[in-house]
Structure formats: C-alpha cells, structure tokens
C-alpha cells in the first residue's frame, strides 16, 4: 500500500511529491549527469562551445557523435545527456530560428531562441503520458553585436551564464571555471580555458575526441575548429591525453 502510493508520484510526471518535488524531472537531471561534459564560455569577442564526445570504442567514428550543433548562422548549441533527446530539441531550435526569419526577416536573438526551447521543454513536465527531455543544452551566439550564453535544463528553466558546464562532473568543472574565468577573456583564451576545464573531468581527456566551436562577434558565424587545430591547441596548453 505504502509502496503503491509512493510509486504514484515517483512515476507520474505530472504529480508532485508531498514535499513539492517532481521526481521525473529530477531523474531527467540524473540522465544529464550520465552524459559526458559540454562547456560554454562567453568571451569578450564571442562564445566558445566545447564538448567531450567520448566514443565508447576506438572502432566508432568519432565524428558520428555530434554534441555541438549549428542552430542558425549565429547560434551554436552544445548538448549533454540523451543524444536522441538532444537531436529533437536541436531540430526544434533550428525550425524556430527559421520561423523567426520568415516572420520578421531578422535573425532570432539568443535569448528568444533559448526561451522558445525551454517553453517547449517545460510542457513535457506538465502533461501526462509524456516524459521530460533527458538532456541539457548550452545555447551560445551573438545578439545585437554582443555574445550571449544560456543553459536549458530538463525542467525547462533558462539560465544565462558567463561560463558553465553541463553533464558529468559538472561540479568539478564548474569549480575550475569559477576559479579561472575572467571577464576580459578573448576567444582564444576562452578556447584554452574550455580545453583546460574539460581536462579536469574524471572521465579522462583525449583531445582527439573533443569538439570545439566558436561564434565570433565580427563574422557572427558558427565555426567548428578542425580536429588538428584542437589537438595542436591542447598540446600547446599541455593538456594532452592522459590515458595514452
């Protein structure tokens, strides 16, 4: 009897527990923690997104695991958690960005796109028969000439950050960002801080499986660094792979 009552709010997405919690949303946050980390850093002249792709086998084509996506010319999105859930939200974000261009003939702002996505996520915490998205996103881009960086979580809350990490080892990576972030970082400094921060992860760090993407204020374009550039930069910083 006791067990059944507990299951009611443990399983039902739309049911609060007696102490006001939504367990399914909290479980979704746990799903995010099981994913490898992604990092976002807002520099003076752009934003940096970095992600540890962490393929399960050396036989897997690392490039087939996409964790950083272009949502529109001027906005990139990094994900952590369920890759498939992430793809749905990326597709939603891409369509929303294009709808904005059709509707207003102007690029969508980073904040407006983030809120379109979080409003969509939130609806999956309030409807029976659905489950929440098991993914967190970092949305970074240029808005009115200024870099902006937002996070979405499975509850559908938007947060704005100077620098943040999502996914596994979040607390440790956040600690490293808090100790080393400076407001006057430029993009290159942001890339360095992102790689150094990912190297703090307990999962181990292999520069060959790290994706780095920037959006700079001047071009307002999403630009992915190629693997060689990432490996070279990591070697310069002395944050080479520790498991080889």
């Amino acid at each position: 009897m006791q067990g059944q009552q507990q299951q009611a709010y443990d399983r039902g997405i739309t049911i609060f527990s007696p102490d006001g919690r939504l367990y399914q949303v909290e479980y979704a946050r746990e799903a995010v923690k099981r994913g490898s980390a992604s990092i976002g850093i807002r520099a003076e002249d752009g934003v940096v997104l970095a992600a540890d792709v962490n393929p399960r086998s050396p036989l897997m084509e690392g490039r087939s695991v996409e964790k950083i996506h272009k949502a529109d010319d001027h906005i990139g999105i990094a994900s952590a958690g369920h890759v498939a859930d992430g793809r749905q939200l990326i597709d939603f974000a891409r369509r929303s960005a294009q709808v904005n261009r059709l509707r207003y003939e102007e690029p969508i702002s980073v904040e407006a796109l983030t809120k379109e996505v979080t409003d969509h996520i939130q609806q999956y915490t309030q409807v029976g028969g659905a489950r929440p998205f098991g993914v967190a996103l970092i949305v970074g881009g240029i808005e009115n000439g200024e870099p902006r960086l937002f996070e979405t979580d499975p509850s559908g809350t938007p947060y704005e950050w100077q620098a943040t990490a999502i996914g596994g080892d979040r607390e440790a990576l956040h600690g490293h960002l808090e100790d080393n972030y400076r407001e006057d970082l430029d993009l290159d400094g942001g890339i360095a801080l992102a790689l150094e921060t990912l190297a703090e992860s307990d999962d181990g760090f292999d520069p060959d499986t790290v994706e780095v993407t920037t959006v700079d204020v001047d071009s307002m374009r999403v630009r992915a660094l190629d693997r060689e550039a990432v490996a070279t930069r990591a070697a310069e910083l002395g944050v080479e792979g520790d498991d080889e």
Partner: protein, 250 residues
C-alpha cells in the same frame, strides 16, 4: 504542420510564421484567402465603408511624418464619415494608416499593435521597423485582411523608415510613399520637392500639401487632415478640420 506538437493543445509547437500569435479574427488555420473567400469574408468588396483615401508617409533624417485625409465613403460616391482618424500608433515609434476597407484596416491595426506589444514584452526591446513591415506583409498575404493598402512608418535604431504594404503582401521601403485613391495627385505634389535632409517641419508641410491637393480633386479624399510625427522619442498625432490649419504659418 511541423513534426512538433504542443503536448497540451496538440497544435503546431513551432508556430506559423504567417499567422498572428494572438487574436487573428477570421484566420482559417493557415488556409488563408481561399477558404475565407468561400465563406464570404471577401464581402470587403461589397457595400462596406472604404477610406478611399490619400495617406502619405515621408522619411527624413530627423524622423517620419504621415498625413492622411479624414473621409470615409461608400464607393467614393457618398461621404459616410467626415472625421475618420486614418493614422494609428501601433508601436512605441511606428504608425500605420488605414486604407481600403475600414473593417479590414481597423482589424489589421489591432492585430499589429498586439503583435508589437507582445514582441516587446517577450523580448525586452521594441520590434525593428523592418520586422514590423515583414510581419504586416505576412499577415496581408496569408490572412483575412484583403482590401487594405496601408503605409507603415516608424523610427528605430537604424533610422527613419517608410513602407507601403499592398493587399497581396508586397512590402516596399522608400523615402516617401503614398497609398489610396488620391495617390497620383499626392505624388505629384511631393515629386521634386523631397529631400532626405529636409527638416521634419518641412516634411510635415509637404505631406499636408500633398493631402490637400488630393482632397481638392479626388472624391474619395477630403474633410481635413490628420498628421502623425514620429521620432525616436515617440509618436504625436494631431487632427485638423481644414488642411490649411495644419500648415506652418508663413
């Protein structure tokens, strides 16, 4: 219909770029003109009040001026109202004129005003005038507003803008533009007199004289003038029984 549906309402979650976010009287779920036409919403063509009209928008470096006549008529042959305000504020720094079917134009004004307000509260900044004009064109093309041909004029961080919006959704930016049945007379007045660097006061005089000329010869225009002045600080609208009263003393 995109593949994303709202889990609460079952509606399209991404949104229709051509439909209003709120309101949208007569909107037939994306089917647009063809459906509405069959159900008789195109009775805008029948014995309804029309503004006939001359509406003028002039952009200068200081801001924009819009002048309109004040006559509503039935087919341009009977004056059904002599004091219609045909320029309305729809945005903190933009106005729209009412041209064509009065019902369609009033509905269009209300819808654009709601969209501009909603955009501003959701995003923190007022819409840019080009975004507002694009939205107006989308609505004119896909929505239940058929017999309208307004001037949209406003000021934003990129300067002063004047657009014409036609019933098929055509949106054209210009330094100055005129719509309505008296347009040829008004254009004749402005042509050769316009200068982008003219003062706002001179632009106002030019706009009023253009409406005055149209009122003298076009049966769909007359009964005085409304003048809207838009700068980065906001909108000011004044009405005059006689066009002469709107001109600066010489």
């Amino acid at each position: 219909m995109s593949e994303f549906t709202d889990p609460v309402t079952g509606a399209d979650a991404v949104g229709d770029p051509h439909a209003p976010a709120v309101g949208g009287a007569g909107w037939s779920d994306g089917a647009g003109q063809s459906d509405a036409g069959e159900t008789g919403a195109k009775s805008d063509d029948g014995a309804v009040n029309e503004t006939g009209t001359t509406t003028v928008g002039i952009a200068t470096d200081e801001g924009v001026v819009v002048a309109t006549d004040r006559r509503a008529s039935l087919g341009g042959r009977f004056v059904s109202n002599k004091s219609v305000q045909k320029v309305e504020q729809i945005h903190p720094t933009a106005v729209l004129t009412l041209v064509g079917s009065v019902g369609g134009a009033q509905s269009f004004v209300r819808t654009l005003r709601a969209e501009a307000d909603l955009y501003e509260v959701e995003r923190g900044d007022p819409m840019r005038i080009h975004a507002l004009a694009t939205l107006a064109g989308n609505f004119a093309r896909g929505g239940p507003w058929f017999a309208i041909n307004p001037v949209l004029a406003g000021v934003d961080d990129e300067g002063a803008h004047v657009y014409s919006v036609d019933p098929a959704g055509g949106v054209m930016a210009d330094d100055y533009t005129v719509t309505g049945s008296g347009m040829q007379l008004a254009y004749g007045t402005i042509e050769g007199e316009y200068d982008r660097e003219m003062s706002l006061a001179d632009a106002r005089d030019l706009a009023v004289r253009a409406v005055e000329a149209a009122s003298a010869r076009d049966t769909g225009s007359g009964n005085g003038v409304y003048v809207a002045t838009v700068t980065g600080d906001g909108v000011d609208i004044e009405g005059f029984d006689e066009t002469a009263d709107a001109l600066a003393p010489r």
